[in-house]
């Protein structure tokens, strides 16, 4: 058994030393255990689990989609698919943020009872929501069938676009976790802020239909790049532009560089705060 040591400093500069026998399971095991438990809480157990998994995205996204295509009557090429290319990836971001905001407090009993790699909690939120997200891809397929849009070779880019989507959600997960813990009373405001980002991106209509300064402003929102990447691959049938993938990845990297060290520092205090 090895000794796992950490040395940190107080503000006053006095050294603190914690040394303990290594006793933690591998990160992958912890991550899988947290995610599987989270999925069970979400979807229950038994045969209805698969049905709930498949229908949940339609409940979350489908109604919103019908409202925008039928009630708002958005025009353009395959408006339902265009909208789905924004709503589906955004749903992953949104649900990750909501999950991550609750990730620490819902595991209060575990945090107060045992030491484990708490830095993995936001990653677990992303994995749980990604599993739900996979089911929501059926909406994209359904829209392609409805609008009779056949897949092109550009669909080979889809896995990369999905990876960028998940990575972008991961970027949001760490700040969302800290925000949800620090400002519990303001969680709904945090959720509204993220929802606002959808409307400040090329979500309801593709970027190509927006002109002038609004076009330039919307490109500053990394969600625009993400939505356009889906449209490029599924709707327009060509490879996504470099910026459509690189910009969301860059933004996620900035968020991770800023917030993972902060989260790692703060997780030492979780048991005090959730008490």
């Amino acid at each position: 058994m090895g000794i796992d040591s950490a040395r940190v400093s107080t503000r006053a500069g006095a050294p603190i030393r914690v040394a303990r026998t290594k006793q933690q399971a591998g990160a992958l095991d912890v991550l899988m255990a947290l995610t599987v438990a989270d999925m069970r809480v979400r979807y229950g157990r038994g045969t209805r689990r698969l049905l709930k998994w498949l229908l949940d995205p339609f409940a979350l996204v489908g109604v919103y989609l019908l409202l925008d295509t039928i009630v708002l009557n958005v025009s353009g090429e395959a408006p339902g698919l265009s909208l789905a290319c924004a709503v589906v990836p955004f749903q992953l971001i949104m649900s990750t943020v909501i999950n991550a905001m609750m990730a620490v407090t819902t595991r209060r009993t575990i945090i107060l009872n045992m030491a484990f790699k708490r830095v993995l909690l936001p990653v677990s939120s992303v994995l749980t929501e990604s599993a739900a997200f996979i089911a929501s891809l059926t909406i994209l397929a359904l829209m392609m069938i409805i609008y009779q849009i056949a897949p092109t070779p550009a669909i080979a880019w889809l896995p990369l676009v999905l990876v960028v989507n998940v990575f972008f959600a991961l970027g949001f997960a760490y700040p969302a976790s800290l925000f949800g813990l620090w400002f519990r009373d303001l969680r709904n405001i945090g959720i509204s802020f993220v929802r606002t980002l959808f409307f400040l991106a090329a979500g309801l209509v593709p970027l190509a239909q927006i002109h002038g300064r609004a076009h330039d402003w919307l490109r500053l929102n990394p969600l625009t790049g993400l939505f356009e990447a889906y449209r490029s691959v599924l709707l327009f049938g060509h490879a996504p532009a470099f910026w459509e993938l690189a910009y969301p990845v860059g933004c996620a990297c900035v968020l991770l560089i800023l917030f993972v060290p902060l989260y790692n520092h703060e997780q030492r205090q979780f048991a005090k705060v959730v008490e």
């Binding site: 914690v18 303990r20 006793q23 095991d29 255990a33 575990i110 107060l112 009872n113 045992m114 048991a271």
Partner: protein, 237 residues
């Protein structure tokens, strides 16, 4: 060989003006409230074979000390060194998630306690048998009594074959039958050169398990000695 050694150990709690605990980063952003040292300048060494009872009034720092030893809380001052596989039962909920069944909770907590997923899967039958929950093991924990939760929590903790066992009053929620199981297990750990640290108000049980006691008052270690001697000092204070 097991060891717990602390030197100048301190754990600080920061409060905002509404007396909510806030993390240091937030305390820096908000107007400063107050602070309280849950543990202050605590030093001790616990050697192999020691059973240590933590005595003291409510709010004296017993739970904070156990959580610091368990790694749930990290110290804000001083140093702590722990050698040996550790298992803890620090709350009646035992880290259990009410929506999950006993088996599903055991699958999660086994991994968080330090076993791999494969080891946890292999240990499930043993956990079920040790807990004595029988068919309840397959039911949601929300339907469990406090005693049943403590049984499951202890059985999972025990599955890592601990050399150091931490108990925080939880054993007091157990029925007599399972109390005997916990006592026997704790005794085995001690006989094998392990360490047991237990807090609670059931002094006869603590006396059976512990040859030594700490008296904590307002986060400070006021007395460290033989159980009977420290208990007398506590009861007379």
């Amino acid at each position: 060989m097991s060891l717990i050694q602390a030197e100048g150990l301190g754990v600080r709690f920061l409060f905002d003006r509404q007396r909510n605990v806030v993390p240091p980063t937030l305390a820096r952003l908000r107007r400063r409230g107050s602070e309280n040292w849950g543990l202050h300048d605590v030093s001790f060494t616990i050697q192999s074979g020691d059973g240590v009872a933590l005595l003291g009034p409510s709010g004296s720092g017993k739970t904070t000390l156990l959580r610091t030893i368990a790694g749930v809380l990290e110290p804000d001052a001083g140093r702590i060194e722990i050698e040996g596989r550790l298992a803890s039962l620090l709350s009646i909920d035992a880290g259990l998630l009410p929506v999950l069944t006993g088996r599903e909770n055991a699958q999660l907590l086994g991994v968080l306690a330090g076993l791999s997923r494969r080891q946890t899967a292999a240990a499930l039958d043993g956990i079920k048998a040790r807990s004595g929950l029988d068919s309840h093991f397959e039911r949601p924990v929300s339907s469990f009594s406090q005693g049943m939760r403590a049984r499951l929590g202890f059985s999972v903790a025990d599955s890592v074959d601990p050399q150091i066992l931490l108990l925080d009053e939880v054993h007091e929620a157990l029925d007599h039958e399972f109390r005997d199981v916990v006592e026997q297990r704790a005794q085995t750990i001690l006989n094998n050169g392990g360490i047991v640290v237990a807090a609670g108000h059931d002094h006869p049980m603590l006396e059976r398990l512990c040859n030594r006691a700490f008296l904590l008052v307002d986060g400070s270690l006021e007395d460290d000695g033989e159980f009977a001697e420290v208990q007398r000092a506590y009861l007379c204070a």
